[in-house]
Symmetry: C2
Subunit: 167 residues, 2 copies
DNA sequence: ACTTTATGTCAGCCTTGTTGACATTCCAAG
DNA sequence: CTTGGAATGTCAACAAGGCTGACATAAAGT
């Protein structure tokens, strides 16, 4: 087995023991369920799933984004995304405009209805996050974000930081 | 819209602005992908999925647990869990023993092979977590756990804290 | 003209969630 | 003791949403 769990090196490394890491892993698992629970409930009522939420979220964040860009943010195949986008367009929540510069591209926008659903979902999710942040306090929130950022793959961190500095 | 985004109340509430919450939400989304990436790769090779990982993890954490208990931890239907357990049992990674007291119950254990896969998966996931923890430092890790715990539903927090204090 | 890029679509597969129906076992009330 | 309900777990069938592969179209780039 790995020697990663050793607890003495002269420095203060108690937070890197296997047991501490295990707690972090389980915290992440249980917390993610809470994180998605509220939007999931709203979506289930309307016959959508988490995939629709993700598409709506990032179209809202970067209106006019192309399918390809969305693909790279979401990390799914175009077939998979296309199925979701098709239903959102059919239902009038998303509008797809042919690019003016490059007519191969489709630029995606939320319609009024789409924006309304986005607000409903993000408000629910934000309230959960707000409760957790308030309870934990500003210092904890800062640590929370540091650890999460360090946990991302390089490409995801790229997307994250780009969106972070306003998109 | 909610007034949650206001930034002034006399106190230091800048960390609760809608924009800060949005960053937290996106951090959670991107980080969770990194969190599951390494085990997912290992599992795909062996023809298993994330659901198998979850079952293996919690059986390892609480050997002899019943199906019902596992159900409540995982938050899925018994039918869904059953399918996963069946393949794990068929493949000789998990052993299911009929309860001695109550013969309706099945008590679950990892076999040698099951324990070996568990180690492979948890080592990979722990290394990712270790890298993130090390990079962020002990204070950040403490905040990370505080926020995650505050984000859980009550029932999940029950499971989490029970497991936390060694199980 | 030819190739590459961006997108969409069809078909088919897998995992993993769901509900419904059913078997077994336990326990408690009559 | 029996019987009916509750708890536990299994089997079957369906849906969402991942995936791959093949192919069509249109626009750009060379």
């Amino acid at each position: 087995m790995s020697d990663g769990g050793r607890q003495s090196s002269g420095e203060d490394l108690l937070f890197l023991t296997d047991d501490q890491l295990r707690k972090g892993i389980e915290a992440m698992f249980f917390a993610y369920r809470g994180f998605t629970a509220d939007p999931d409930r709203i979506l289930a009522d309307k016959g959508y799933g988490r995939a629709h939420h993700r598409a709506i979220h990032f179209i809202n964040r970067a209106p006019g984004t192309t399918v390809n860009n969305l693909l790279s943010i979401l990390g799914v195949t175009k077939q998979s995304l296309n199925r979701v986008l098709r239903t959102l367009i059919e239902d009038g929540l998303v509008e797809s405009r042919v690019g003016s510069r490059d007519k191969r591209e489709r630029h995606l926008f939320l319609t009024e209805d789409g924006a309304a659903l986005e607000r409903e979902l993000s408000t629910a999710q934000r309230e959960r996050m707000r409760g957790a942040f308030r309870q934990a306090g500003p210092a904890a929130v800062s640590g929370f974000k540091q650890v999460l950022e360090a946990m991302m793959d390089a490409e995801m961190r790229r997307h994250y930081t780009r969106l972070k500095e306003h998109g």
